[in-house]
Amino acid sequence: MHEMTTSLALAGELFAQGDSQLLAIVLLSLRVSLTATLLACLIGMPLGALLAVGRFPGRRTLIVLFNALMGLPPVVVGLIVYLLLSRAGPLGQFGLLFTPTAMVIAQTILIVPIVAALSRQVVEDAWREYREQLRSLGANRLRAARTLLWDGRFSLTTAGLAGFGRAVAEVGAVMIVGGNIDGVTRVMTTTIALETSKGDLPLALALGMILIAVVLLINIAAFLLRQWAERRWG
């Protein structure tokens, strides 16, 4: 328990000092993971809605597939993206390996299934409820998917937050495609892994606490924003 208190004190100290290096690492973490979340929402939410209201062969297979892909191991995603972006790989000419863009790509792939699967659930429930109504208004399935997505936008924030949580917390993928390069691709989780391997466990744990605090702040902000928006437009 002694380590816990040491780390807590250390976390407080780091936070109070506002160390510029630490701040840069936190901001990079947020930039990468928020971008990945946004992209995953733009891809995953329409995909989820189509899976919910669509009728096409293979739909059920796809639903099960996306559910299963929620358990995609980050290190496997990292490896695949590495092989794609490596100079010897098919996309090597763009020189994206070991850049934040590579990290965004990996995290997006990692969380699209989460966002899609959760969005499908939200839209499917709404579809069951409003199906007849939408039909009587003459809406086709595409139109219905759009309407239900828009109407469910407040509930869908949970899907986005789940994706963000997974993205900001993973270390396996960003370590491989980012390379944990100091000042370029070093994010919160790779820093924690690095300090752990240096045997500086109190510092590693303190950084972990800061990461949790940052994620908590994001969630509080999202919660308040949702409440405010629901009152305003809901």
Binding site: R31, L34, T35, L38, L39, L42, S86, R87, A88, G89, G92, G95, L97, F98, T99, P100, T101, V104, W150, G179, N180, I181, D182, V184, L194, T196, S197, K198, G199, D200, L201, W233
Partner: protein, 275 residues
Amino acid sequence: MIRNLRRKIFSAACGASLLLAVSAHAQERFITVASTTSTEQSGLFAHLLPAFERESGILVRVVALGTGQALDLARRGDADVVFVHDKVAEEKFVAEGFGVKRQEVMYNDFVLIGPQNDPAKAAGKDILAGLRQIEAAKAPFVSRGDKSGTHAAELRYWKAAGIDITAAKGPWYKDTGSGMGPALNTASSMNAYLLADRGTWLNFKNRGDLGIVVEGDKQLFNQYGVILVNPAKHAHIKQADGQKLIDWVVSTAGQKTIADYKIGGEQLFFPNAGN
């Protein structure tokens, strides 16, 4: 109508934030160096590279891996320069045509780490005798098992000690497949012996009851080499800038900077490029 407008504003905001978030980095002049955890985690690079960056205006991006992995990365063309410590593997890398030329830079040494009360009685100045003692006592031993330079050295010592480790392996020999730091953490938590490079050991904080058991044996000498990745294999290799780094680390200024790096008054790496 108003609802549509809101929707449009919403999409526009999404698009704008996306553009902001992925907006490209300012174009910087940099090279990528694949190196080992020992040079990065011992703090040497943080001391050495800023001096080069100031002088040359070239930023150095270091990806720290085990030697085997670093060389594989370079084989794929994902680094401009490799800076590693496994002479046999390095020479093979050059012979295969992936590297232009191998130059020696510096050395440090390996140390045998173990519990301070030394249950296997491995202490002394002879690494081979120490390993024989550990094997005879079946004392817990943590191996990197990750094709790193340190792992390659460990396997060479077992062989030189006359022990066929693949056959002698038992529950006492833990093949962890991890980097130097994680392997040290594992050894620390189960009070095991392991081979480590001195730099990482000196910088390592979670030591528990571990201490140095064998040091000072000439065979524990650990040579580092630097190689430019062959531009003939990968056209995008930054040949001129990579060569500048190599020329600098073997120059008098670079060698002096290496010698100047100390932890707690102890020099970690000994430049020997001139030899």
